[in-house]
């Protein structure tokens, strides 16, 4: 288990060398803050288009290293070959293992920082044990298929979701993020979203897995993730266990008031939609930060060419 208190957790999040600094993180940092919709209005599109053509002609005129010296439009160097990135059963299992390590990281950090106490801490400890067992199981399946087991948190999910979410909870002096007013409530809300996404990930992998025996194994774990989320739904919203949202049932059985963000059973089917979670201290306008957690997509899978260090 990682052994750090809240201050150390903040420092670890500022210098995430073990879990977050990687090629994915660089891409995210390089593109963060860009507003493509605003920068490409129709007028600007034509202006940019004209500039692009002119620039292309200039580049072509400069030619490649084997130029005959005569400027030709379209004379460009051979592009670098992209690495082969195939979504195989091994890739899916490695990605599942990485997601388990994301959960392990969160629960270890929360435990070390003492963000949960009493019953909530007991529940979190059980979940931590379960995720360790899941990581071992998916790693074992990976090696059974001849692959190399992955042993780190998913780098993209760690940098895009996990570290920003934990910063919203514990605060980050370097970037001026204040700690949240109720860390325990935020941790439970984050755990609810994370467990829901974990279940959704295994569900999403079922039609992608070529070996059908792996489908059952994957959903054996997905079943447990879904139950984790449901238990947290019971804790967060005991007044209504099963949402009536979207259901055709008699008005007397519909819930009153606004739809809540957490339920033991929020919908009939397992969702593939992003799971929203509200975290952190309110800003001067009283608004808190909304984070949408999503299942790993093609750009966050742990392909076989990625090594175990991420």
């Amino acid at each position: 288990m990682n052994d750090f208190n809240r201050d150390e957790l903040r420092r670890a999040l500022r210098t995430p060398s073990d879990h977050g600094t990687d090629a994915f993180g660089s891409i995210v940092k390089a593109t963060s803050g860009l507003n493509f919709a605003r920068s490409l209005s129709r007028r600007r599109f034509f202006v940019a288009g004209g500039a692009t053509v002119s620039f292309a002609a200039l580049v072509a005129a400069c030619g490649g290293s084997e130029s005959t010296g005569i400027a030709r439009l379209g004379d460009a160097p051979t592009p670098n070959k992209l690495v082969e990135a195939e979504v195989t059963d091994i890739t899916l299992l490695r990605t599942a293992t990485s997601l388990e390590h994301n959960a392990i990281f969160v629960y270890e950090a929360v435990a070390s920082a003492g963000l949960l106490t009493g019953d909530a801490a007991e529940i979190a400890k059980r979940f931590l044990d379960d995720h360790r067992a899941h990581a071992e199981a998916t790693a074992s399946l990976t090696t059974d298929l001849g692959g190399k087991a992955y042993t780190q948190p998913n780098p993209r999910l760690q940098s895009v979701y996990i570290e920003p979410a934990l910063k919203l909870i514990v605060g980050d002096e370097a970037t001026g993020i204040p700690p949240t007013d109720d860390p325990a409530a935020d941790v439970l809300a984050l755990a609810y979203a994370l467990e829901t996404i974990a279940g959704s990930t295994y569900q999403a992998y079922v039609p992608l897995l070529a070996d059908k025996s792996l489908r059952a194994a994957a959903m054996g774990i997905g079943d447990q993730e879904a139950r984790h989320a449901a238990l947290l739904g019971v804790v967060l919203n005991p007044a209504r266990l099963v949402s009536s949202m979207g259901l055709s049932i008699a008005a007397e059985y519909q819930e009153e008031g606004e739809t809540q963000t957490a339920y033991a059973s929020p919908s009939a089917f397992g969702t593939q939609a992003p799971v929203p979670v509200t975290l952190g201290a309110a800003n001067e306008s009283g608004i808190r930060t909304n984070v949408n957690l999503e299942t790993p997509s093609l750009n966050s899978m742990v392909y076989e060419y990625l090594d175990a260090e991420g």
Binding site: D22, V83, E84, E86, T88, D89, I90, T91, E122, I123, R126, D130, L145, G146, G147, G199, S200, Q203, V206, P207, A210, D211, K212, R215, A216, M219, G220, G222, D223, Q224, A226, R227, H228, A230, L231, G233, V234, P238, R240, L241, V242, S243, S244, L247, S248, I249, A250, E252, Y253, E255, A264, S265, S267, A268, F269, G270, Y305, L306, D307, E309
Partner: protein, 177 residues
């Protein structure tokens, strides 16, 4: 991070699974639809009997969930869908779904656990990916039902945590080859 291209070795030669249900899949999915209609009717009976207390809306929603599962399976199966509950299963379980909230919740918890085991069994046997994807989404829903029903039965998420998290050691209901 390595940037060296590595050729995958696991399943490049594996045949792509079919998308639509095979004839063997249809038999399994038809069984699943009958089981879902059975669960729907059991919850409807419990609601009619007055079980659930201030969570009666949750029981009504659970009936609607199982109806939604049956309808989705029907859409996948078309004319092969049985569109009828499994009367033998309904008769064997109906005494558990009465007016008492705690006993009904425990009977429903056992039923949902059995459906989770059954659907996990199906996932290892279905060939078509459409059927497998649908069964997986139903399984996630029913896993969450188990935890909801443990709470409805008055169990503690701490002291009785295994009732919330652990799938019972029960037999799959699905017909075996």
């Amino acid at each position: 991070m390595s940037t060296t291209p590595v050729t995958s070795t696991s399943d490049k030669s594996a045949a792509t699974p079919p998308r639509r249900p095979t004839s063997a899949d249809i038999e399994l999915l038809a069984f699943a639809q009958a089981a879902e209609l059975t669960a729907r009717d059991l919850y409807k009976q419990a609601v009619a009997e007055g079980a659930g207390g201030d969570q009666i809306g949750s029981l009504a929603a659970l009936a609607a969930h199982h109806d939604a599962y049956a309808q989705s399976l029907s859409a996948l199966l078309g004319t092969d869908a049985p569109q009828a509950r499994n009367d033998e299963l309904f008769s064997s379980l109906k005494s558990g779904f009465g007016s008492n909230t705690e006993s009904t919740a425990l009977a429903a918890h056992e039923l949902e656990n059995t459906l989770v085991v059954t659907h996990t069994d199906l996932l290892g046997r279905l060939d078509g990916t459409e059927g497998a994807a649908l069964v997986a989404s139903i399984l996630i829903g029913e896993s969450r039902h188990c935890a909801a029903l443990a709470a409805l039965a008055g169990k503690s998420p701490v002291n009785d945590i295994d009732l919330f998290l652990t799938t019972s050691d029960v037999e799959s209901l699905a017909p075996q080859a």
